[in-house]
């Protein structure tokens, strides 16, 4: 089954994205990606621009509300996601623990919901 690893990163981790090629955080991510692919569990994923680039839209009582920045006001912010194909949550948690963001932010593991997707896409 498929699991999404939702990567929550600290402001420092977002800042490290602009560091040079020898940055350890970047190196750790490259190695992690390679390990996922070689273990044949990687399905897909992407990373997001920093939270301040976000714009949030809501409709309340028929009125539009547009807000600069991310929806949730927390220190750690969603920085990207990875989809993995694994037998069970146990393995997904193992991979989450190895994620470079786990030691400086947080990684939330969520099962992907193909049932709801099917109901939407028909």
């Amino acid at each position: 089954m498929q699991f999404a690893l939702l990567i929550f990163e600290s402001p420092e981790a977002f800042a490290a994205r602009n560091a040079d090629e020898n940055d350890p955080y970047l190196g750790a991510w490259r190695a992690y990606y390679k390990a996922l692919v070689e273990a044949d569990v990687y399905v897909g994923g992407n990373s997001l621009q920093p939270p301040e680039t976000g714009t949030t839209v809501q409709l309340k009582d028929g009125k539009r509300r547009v807000q600069d920045g991310p929806f949730a006001d927390t220190k750690e912010q969603l920085g990207g996601f990875t989809i993995l194909e694994l037998p069970s949550l146990d393995e997904a948690l193992e991979w989450a623990a190895r994620c470079p963001a786990a030691s400086i932010g947080a990684v939330e593991v969520r099962p992907v919901s193909p049932e709801f997707r099917r109901r939407v896409t028909g």
Partner: protein, 410 residues
């Protein structure tokens, strides 16, 4: 009662709870096989102690007080569950015993039976260690869950399910018979060692999650040794864990940097722990029956000799690994063997040994890639080494190990 006295009462409760938890649970559940209810009864008694002791002063015999109170609560718990008629004689027995408030603390120690129940072949092997940690040491499900990287809710559910199986599955509280004993004891030892954390420091993978359970595992092994002092492998397991524990202070640099075993400052190793380990290893070999844990302890003993001789007898380590592979050809053993071959006979020979391990087994096994990267680097095979380093870094969980490998990778 003053604040200081209250604090003393709390400390006593903590100490008695820690030392007596397993004995009380084992004793209460040995008649009924109902470990869950025994635990509930004991936690009720501990809550009662927290209320009563600071107010009325400490009882003369805290353990007996807990047992008497827990026993009363146990009867209520069982009654509440409207247990089957079959256990009515047990209730009568417990009730009769509970009238005796002057009860001596010399109630039978049933912890060995409880340990064998926790590691019973009918129980999912993955649950052996969590069951022991909870029922014998009284660790809460959340702490066990963190260590095993499972959600606290899931761990709680799995523990409840395992205890239901013990109660309803006809698993007997007994010491296995002679012919079964080695195999059954092995499962108990495996479970204790699993708590200690696998893959600690002879390779790059120091198990972050296992570390805070190391002391609990040593405690469990000491309890087991008290109960069954004649088995060589129990001494072997304790020797193994003590040798590893002796190096705790040397495993990290002052800045939190990871230090591999061969580069550790042996002045920082604990001499008393190493001496104790050696005593247990001697005791084990005097019994004339070799085994997996004795061999693993012997390997650590060779490493420990560096504190005296300044060198490492890699040939000896290699021979111990050869014997170990015959008994227990795990990935860890085979990877450790390859590392020893590389030191004894050269990197080329070590790499050839590594190549003998099936590719399917190693796709997510970090220590394999760490050793492989190291050997390829030594042989000057740079592109392959970089690739192996990436695999080892990507599979590492401990940030200090990741950092160490990133630096070695260059």
């Amino acid at each position: 009662m003053s604040g200081i006295e209250q604090e003393a009462a709390h400390r006593t409760i903590e100490r008695v709870a820690r030392e007596s938890y397993g004995r009380l649970v084992a004793y209460l559940s040995s008649h009924t096989r109902d470990v869950g209810s025994a635990e509930d009864a004991l936690s009720n008694a501990l809550v009662a102690a927290l209320e009563t002791w600071p107010r009325d002063g400490l009882p003369q015999n805290p353990e007996a007080w807990l047992l008497t109170t827990a026993r009363r609560s146990f009867i209520d718990v069982l009654r509440h569950q409207q247990v089957a008629e079959a256990s009515e004689p047990t209730l009568v027995l417990l009730r009769d015993e509970s009238k005796d408030v002057t009860l001596s603390p010399q109630f039978p120690d049933e912890r060995l039976k409880l340990l064998f129940v926790c590691a019973h072949p009918a129980i999912d092997p993955a649950m052996h260690t969590p069951l022991m940690l909870q029922t014998v040491l009284g660790l809460d499900a959340a702490r066990i869950a963190h260590a095993f990287l499972i959600s606290p809710t899931t761990m709680g559910q799995r523990l409840v399910r395992a205890k239901t199986k013990i109660r309803d599955g006809g698993i007997r509280f007994e010491i296995p018979q002679e012919r079964e004993l080695p195999q059954r004891l092995d499962a108990v030892l495996e479970a204790i060692y699993a708590a200690f954390g696998i893959g600690w420091d002879d390779m790059a993978g120091v198990d972050q999650r296992g570390r805070d359970l190391a002391e609990e595992a040593i405690w469990l092994a000491r309890v087991l040794l008290q109960l069954i002092p004649r088995e060589a492998e129990v001494h072997g397991l304790l020797a193994l864990m003590l040798h590893c524990e002796a190096r705790r202070a040397a495993r990290r640099g002052p800045d939190g940097r990871y230090v591999p075993l061969s580069e550790q400052d042996c002045q920082k190793w604990s001499a008393p722990l190493m001496e104790e380990a050696e005593r247990h290893l001697d005791e084990a070999s005097s019994r004339g029956r070799s085994g997996r844990f004795q061999l693993e302890a012997a390997i650590q003993s060779v490493h420990a000799e560096r504190a005296q001789s300044g060198g490492i007898q890699w040939n000896a380590i290699m021979v111990f690994y050869e014997q170990l592979i015959r008994i227990s050809p795990t990935l860890g053993t085979r990877t450790g063997y390859a590392a020893a071959v590389a030191e004894a006979k050269g990197a080329e020979a070590g790499l050839a040994t590594l190549n003998g391990i099936a590719p399917d087994d190693i796709s997510a096994y970090q220590p394999y890639w760490a050793v492989r990267a190291h050997l390829l680097q030594r042989l000057g095979k740079t592109p392959e080494a970089l690739d192996a380093f990436d695999r080892a870094i990507g599979l590492a969980e401990d940030p200090a190990v990741r950092q160490f490998l990133l630096q070695r990778r260059g």
